[in-house]
């Protein structure tokens, strides 16, 4: 299992992601954004969190033009698996690889805390080790996590089982921290090979640090 992790200027979660995937037994490589190709033995490409290009203009708006993104699009088009976490999710929506957009949090605050999430669809490689309606405890840390999609787009997401996770309380009751449409925390593309979420599963890998619920999520990619 080879995991390639993208690094833009301002990315700051690439080493957390590397640590998490190494712990699960993967070979990892951090790929600088100037690269014009994705290593051919890549089984999973991670677009890690942080503040690519200082969030200038909009979160993810400038990163989408980095040299590596052309290769990422090609990789995804050929069925390669891509996971965008936090800023990575923003980059993937900006690049058009995932539907919707991420707006400023409704209460305008930067949110940094553990939050519960409910599994909405698990018929995909990312969440297949979890059950529908399972509640996991995963940290969030974002300013622009307010997922927006218009009514037609939303209908399509549900019709294709593309809604992955929603924000809830510990009992699975909706609790929306940032104003996201339908409390949505993560989605995938129609083909179910590109995934994006605002919460950080790579920061929930050991009980000692508050939760190891991220293990089941990231492990899904290993049994492809």
């Amino acid at each position: 299992m080879k995991v390639t992790i993208l690094q833009f200027p301002g990315t700051n979660c690439e080493y957390d992601a590397q640590h998490a995937f190494k712990d699960l037994g993967a070979e990892t490589e951090i790929l600088w954004h100037k690269s014009e190709s994705v290593p051919s033995n890549t089984d999973l490409l991670v677009v890690a969190g942080g503040f690519s290009y200082g969030d200038y203009l909009r979160s993810g708006a400038i990163a989408k033009f980095s040299p590596v993104m052309k290769a990422v699009k090609e990789y995804a088009k050929n069925g390669g698996k891509v996971l965008g976490i936090c800023n990575g999710f923003q980059v993937l929506t900006e690049a058009g690889l995932l539907p919707g957009a991420l707006k400023r949090n409704e209460n305008l605050h930067f949110l940094s805390k553990h939050h519960h999430l409910k599994v909405i669809n698990n018929d995909n490689i990312f969440l297949k080790e979890l059950n529908k309606d399972d509640v996991v405890n995963i940290p969030i840390a974002h300013h622009d996590g307010n997922f927006y999609i218009d009514a037609n787009g939303l209908k399509e997401l549900y019709a294709n089982n593309q809604v992955l996770l929603t924000y809830t309380d510990k009992n699975g009751e909706t609790q929306n921290p940032n104003g996201s449409v339908d409390s949505i925390a993560g989605v995938c593309n129609k083909e179910k090979n590109v995934f994006g979420l605002m919460p950080h599963p790579e920061r929930a890998m050991e009980q000692l640090l508050g939760s190891d619920d991220g293990v089941k999520m990231l492990r899904g990619f290993f049994s492809a």
Binding site: E94, A101, K103
Partner: protein, 80 residues
């Protein structure tokens, strides 16, 4: 040619910053304000002198980078 691009959230997309500013203005007793939108202004200096071409080029810039048309609208103003 100088070009001003204004980018705002689309009508119907909640503008939390506009709402917060509106609320703050009301608490400062500016009670005659019925709506506030907060957006971005981007000022460009172009070599292009032809208005039509300039407008077309800036529209492409907006579609590609300056605005995210999933959530934002843009206005282009040419200044001679």
């Amino acid at each position: 040619m100088k070009v001003i691009v204004n980018v705002f959230l689309k009508a119907g997309v909640l503008d939390s910053q506009g709402k917060a500013v509106h609320h703050a203005l009301n608490s400062l007793h500016f009670n005659g304000v019925s709506d506030v939108r907060v957006g971005k202004q981007i000022v460009l200096n172009l070599d292009e002198e032809d208005e039509g071409k300039a407008r077309e080029e800036v529209a492409r810039m907006c579609e590609d980078l300056l605005a995210n048309t999933v959530i934002e609208d843009y206005e282009i103003e040419l200044i001679k």
